[in-house]
Assembly symmetry: C2
Homo-oligomer: 224 residues x 2
DNA sequence: GGCTCATGTGGACGCTGTCAACATTTAGCC
DNA sequence: GGCTAAATGTTGACAGCGTCCACATGAGCC
């Protein structure tokens, strides 16, 4: 290091990426300004353009980190239940239901903890192709995690295969909508306790929507 | 009109508002540039500042119109079923379930038809206070419409009062999340038919989540 | 007719992203 | 070790943005 303190920076690319993440965390997606990053890192404006094609390239890098953070939050939740279940095992159905809830809760965890990164992520999220997810992303795909949880619910017999159709979109929509409404929508400013209660209610509703009823076969009566 | 073709515009405020709406429709929230509006209307930059305190004030006006559009889309849906039911009446439960679905579908209708306005609306949406909604907004509040539909479901005996708790947030989250994912999220670019199918599945899931089961009393086993 | 106030204009400042030209430092090669 | 080429950082410029200020113009009122 210290090889020529000025001029050649050495780790400019990483430094810029770090600064970009910090800027977005502090001031949201619009807080990412190339010139400002250069200023923070102590380098001239335009230096960034030796490492990133344009602002969008910087956004992509931040989005990648945000995606990793989102995945981390979800996996942390899953790992926690896994650890808890090691002590006293529960029946597979309960376990599968629980895991789906935790996936959703982890998603919201991240959104609330890192609103800036979360918002940026969904202005730069890759389009999800018809079925083949999780192919490119090194870090894993939340959508894939969700699908696995749902498949599990089918496997243990809790979720009717007919109801399974489209359930991934329903679950994602519900949890994502909840996150968005709480982060940048009309539900922002909700007290933490109220938010938690509302989230638990939402997860219970989803659980109820997917659960097989003792009463009758798969109902899917959509309209008249 | 034509009173002094140049200089005094006469309807500058309305003209700017109209141009702002058009700009957002065409290029999204970021497409709203004060200077650009002035140019479009044929007036000098800065003229807008005689009628709007700042850019945000212009955003608020567009948000108001967007809200009206959203409400319109929902009410149009409701009016349509109302008309259809005039010919052959259905039982109250079916009717109430149908109305909830239409509310959600109208919401998505607007989001898909006017992505720019929809996106802007939810960066400037008023915070929803604990319970007393629909007080200020002249045009009505989507949240209130949703709550009425849910109360109706309780009244006709389809929705258990216990499950009713938090249902407004669950429904709003699900539909809003679906809209967001389709408008600016990873589900953008979904074919119209696929989107419609996914939406119907989502509405069916919600209907299933809220519906009373013949099997047992209100289950709300959330965890543990 | 003259005064006042609302409304529109022109110029400026600082911010942004991006391009082009220039400087310097590092690395490769003899 | 020294020369050259590529990588990296700097400076300057341009256009666009929001916003403030001073000024010009027009409309309405007395």
């Amino acid at each position: 290091m210290t090889a020529s303190a000025r001029y050649h920076h050495g780790h400019l690319r990483e430094a810029l990426a770090d600064a970009a993440v910090e800027a977005v965390r502090e001031h949201g997606p619009d807080g990412l300004a190339v010139r400002d990053l250069a200023r923070r890192v102590g380098v001239s404006h335009n230096a960034a353009y030796r490492h990133f094609a344009d602002r969008d390239a910087l956004v992509d890098v931040v989005a990648e980190r945000a995606m990793a953070g989102l995945m981390g939050a979800m996996e942390r939740r899953l790992a926690a239940v896994e650890a808890a279940e090691a002590d006293d095992p529960v029946d597979p159905v309960h376990r599968a239901r629980r895991r789906l809830s935790e996936v959703g809760a982890g998603y919201v965890d991240f959104a609330v903890a890192e609103p800036g990164l979360f918002r940026l992520l969904f202005t730069a999220y890759p389009e999800v192709p018809d079925k083949d997810l999780g192919k490119g992303t090194e870090v894993g795909d939340p959508f894939t995690v969700l699908n696995l949880a749902l498949d599990d619910l089918v496997a243990v017999g809790y979720l009717d295969p007919v109801v399974r159709e489209g359930a991934e979109i329903t679950c994602w929509s519900a949890v994502h909508g909840f996150a968005v409404l709480n982060v940048e929508g009309p539900l922002r400013g909700l007290a933490a306790a109220d938010r938690e209660a509302a989230l638990q209610a939402l997860l219970a509703h989803i659980d109820g929507a997917l659960g097989t009823r003792p009463g009758g076969g798969p109902r899917r009566g959509r309209r008249g």
